[in-house]
C-alpha cells in the first residue's frame, strides 16, 4: 500500500525545475511538501474520549496517548465533548457515529484495580459498536519518564490494533548538539544529555536491540570509535580505531558486526568489526586516495550501501556485505549531480534515504530500490542526515527551515512535517528501535 502511494507520488516530481516551482507554490500548512501528495480524509477518524475528572494521572495518560496517536499520522484525531462521548461510563457509539468517527480510545481505572493505580486503555470499533482490544498499564508509582514510556508502549499497541503494525512512540532519538550526545523522544519530550566520551562526539548509531550505541569520539590522542552500553554508560574503544579518523558506524541487523569507515593517510575505507568476538577487522573497500564511508546495511544483512568519491564527488554505491560487486546505486551525472551523503537503508529494505546537494544546498531524497528512482522530500532551507523510524514511514532529519538547525520529523505517507524543539544546533540524529527490551539510563 505504501509503495503504491510512493510510485504515484514520484510521477509528480519529474524535473528539478518543476520541483522548485512546486516547492514555492504548494507550501501546505506546517511546512513544504515536495514530492508528497497530502491525502486528507482517507485516514480513519479516531476519537480520544475525555476522562473525568481532568488533571489526574488518568488525564495525563490520556493526553500523552492522544499526542502519540496524533503523531502516528495514521488517524484523524477527534476529541468529543464529555457530554456527547460517554454514556454511563461507556462510549456512546451512536453519538460517536454521528460525529463520523470510526474508532474510539478510552482511558479508565482498571476494573478491580482499587487503589493500585492501574489504568486500562481500550480501543473501540465505533461502527460495529464493540470493544476491539484493551490492555492494562502497570502504573504503580510510575511518574515522569517511566510513566511516559509505559503510555508510549500502550500507544504503539493501540496503533497495532487499529492498523496491523505498531506505532513508534516508544522510541527515542540520539543526536549531537554542542559537541555532545543528546536524546529526545519523538513527541519532543525527555530531552537530556547522554554521557559520552570526547568532544565532539559524532555520528551516534544504535544497535538493533537498542542496548548499545556506537559513535566517533574526538579525544586528545585520537578519533576512535566508541561502543557504549546505553543503560549503564560503560564504554570501550573498537580495537584498531585508535589511529586515524574512525567515522560513520552502523551495526549489522543481527548486531554481530559493526561497519564503519577508517581514514588514514592512504584514504578512507570501510571496515567490519566483529562485535560478537570483540576482535578482527575486515576491510571491504580499497580506496587509495579516494574515500569510502557511511556504510548502511540492508535489513537482511546481505548488502551494504555506502558513499564513495571514486568518481570525483561523493555519491551512493552498493556492495555485498563481503565487499564484492561494488556498483553505483543512485544514478548521477558527473559534475552535475550534487554531493550525496548520509545514506540510511529503510527498515522494510525497499528504500534508501540520503541527502544530496541541490544548487549547493542539501535536501532529503529517497531512492526506491525497485525502480532506482529518486525523489526529493524537502526544499526549504538546508535539510540533511535523515534517519528512519522503525515503522519505515517516518524520517527524522536536520533542517534549518526555522532559522536554527533543529530536528524535524516527516511522515512520508501524509507529508506532515513537525519540528522537535531542540536548542543549540542539533545534527546527526539516529532513531532508536522501539524501547521494548531495555531499561532506561538514569
Amino acid at each position: 500500500m505504501r509503495r503504491g502511494l510512493l510510485v504515484a507520488v514520484a510521477a509528480v516530481i519529474a524535473a528539478p525545475a518543476a520541483l522548485r516551482a512546486q516547492d514555492s507554490s504548494v507550501a501546505a500548512p506546517g511546512g513544504v511538501r515536495v514530492g508528497i501528495t497530502y491525502t486528507p480524509g482517507t485516514r480513519p477518524s479516531l476519537a480520544v474520549l475525555p476522562v473525568a475528572p481532568a488533571a489526574t494521572v488518568l488525564d495525563s495518560v490520556r493526553s500523552i496517548l492522544q499526542r502519540d496517536l496524533d503523531f502516528s499520522d495514521r488517524f484523524d484525531i477527534v476529541v468529543p465533548p464529555p457530554t456527547v462521548a460517554v454514556q454511563g461510563g461507556t462510549p456512546n457509539y451512536g453519538a460517536l457515529t454521528a460525529l463520523g468517527t470510526d474508532l474510539a480510545v478510552a482511558v479508565m481505572p482498571a476494573p478491580g484495580a482499587g487503589q493500585s493505580g492501574q489504568v486500562e486503555v481500550q480501543l473501540h470499533d465505533v461502527r460495529t459498536g464493540s470493544l476491539k482490544n484493551h490492555l492494562t498499564l502497570p502504573l504503580p508509582a510510575a511518574t515522569g519518564e517511566a510513566l511516559r514510556l509505559a503510555v508510549h508502549r500502550a500507544a504503539d499497541e493501540v496503533v497495532r490494533w487499529a492498523t496491523g503494525s505498531p506505532g513508534v512512540a516508544s522510541t527515542t532519538l540520539l543526536y549531537v548538539a554542542d559537541g555532545r550526545l543528546w536524546r529526545v523522544d519523538p513527541d519532543g519530550e525527555g530531552r537530556s544529555s547522554v554521557p559520552s566520551a570526547g568532544r565532539p562526539a559524532l555520528s551516534p548509531a544504535w544497535s538493533r536491540d537498542g542496548r548499545t550505541v556506537a559513535y566517533t569520539a574526538f579525544v586528545p590522542s585520537g578519533r576512535p570509535l566508541v561502543i557504549q552500553d546505553f543503560a549503564s554508560g560503560s564504554r570501550d574503544v573498537v580495537p584498531g580505531s585508535e589511529n586515524g579518523v574512525n567515522i560513520t558506524p552502523e551495526f549489522s541487523p543481527d548486531g554481530r558486526t559493526l561497519a564503519f569507515a577508517h581514514g588514514d593517510e592512504n584514504g578512507t575505507d570501510i571496515y567490519l568489526y566483529d562485535v560478537a568476538r570483540r576482535c578482527c577487522l575486515t576491510r571491504l573497500t580499497v580506496g587509495r586516495f579516494y574515500d569510502n564511508l557511511s556504510p548502511t546495511w540492508s535489513p537482511d544483512g546481505g548488502r551494504i550501501a555506502f558513499i564513495s568519491t571514486r568518481a570525483g564527488s561523493p555519491q551512493l554505491y552498493v556492495m555485498s556485505a563481503d565487499g564484492s560487486g561494488q556498483e553505483a546505486l543512485a544514478r548521477f551525472d558527473y559534475g552535475f549531480t550534487g554531493q550525496t551523503n548520509g545514506p540510511e537503508w529503510s527498515p522494510d529494505g525497499q528504500a534508501i534515504a540520503f541527502h544530496r546537494e541541490v544548487h549547493g544546498v542539501p535536501q532529503i531524497f529517497i531512492l526506491d530500490l525497485a525502480t532506482r528512482a529518486v525523489r526529493q522530500i524537502t526544499g526549504e532551507g538546508r535539510n540533511e542526515d535523515p534517519t528512519w523510524a522503525p515503522d519505515g514511514r517516518h524520517l527524522a532529519f536536520v533542517s534549518s527551515r526555522s532559522g536554527t538547525r533543529q530536528l524535524w520529523i516527516v511522515d512520508l505517507e501524509t507529508g506532515r512535517m513537525r519540528p522537535i524543539v531542540t536548542t543549540g544546533g542539533a545534527r546527526l540524529p539516529a532513531w532508536s528501535p522501539r524501547r521494548t527490551f531495555f531499561s532506561e539510563a538514569g
Partner: protein
Amino acid sequence: MMGRLWRAVGPAMVLMAAACGKPPAPAPTTPAPAPAAPSEAVRAAADSAAAARAAAARRDSLAAQARADSLARADRERSRADSVRLQVQRQSVDTAPPLTAGGLAVADSAALADPIHFDYDKSEVVPADQARLDRKLAILAAHPRLEIRVAGNCDERGSDEYNLALGERRAAAAKRYLVAHGVAADRVEIVSYGKEHPLDPGHTEDAWARNRRDDFVATKGAN
C-alpha cells in the same frame, strides 16, 4: 677519526647496497702475493679487513637501530592506544592542551604554523602553497628533533561526516609532500577536524576559503 671511519664505512655501504641483500663478499684473509710492493699489499689487505669489520659493525648497528626504532614505534602506538582508551573511559570531557613551538625562533614558529589552503572539495596542495611547505621543510631540517601535527579542516558546506574524510585527505596531502622531500614519516602526524574547527564563523566565500586549510603545530622537539 670520525672522518676516517666514515671514509671506511661509506664505500662498504655502497657495496652493501650494490649487493642488494646477498651476503657480503668474504674479506680476503691471505694477502695476495705482491712482490713489487709487499708493504702496500699488506696495508691494502688490512684496510679491506677493517672495512669489512666496520661494515659488519655498521650492519649490526643498523639492525639494532631498526629494532629499536620499531620497538619505539610499537611502544608509541601502544601508549597512544592506551591513552585513547583512558580518554574514552574518563567521565569528564577534556580538550587537547595548547601546543606551542616554544623553542623555535619567532619567525620559524610563525612559518611553521602558517596554514595552507585548498580548493572546494579538493585535497591537492596548490602550487602557491608549495613555498609555504618548503619553508617548513627547512625548519624541520634545521630542528631534527622537531615533530609536527598537520590538521586538515573543511568549510561548513558538505556533510559533517564526509568532511572528516576530506580533512584527513588534506592533512595527508601535506604530509606526502613533506615526506617526499625527505622528512621522516614518523615526524609528521595527521589529524582531521572536518568542519568542527572553523577559523572564520562567516558564511561567505571568503570565510569558506579561509576555513579550507591545513593547520600545523609542533608536537615535540620545539624547545
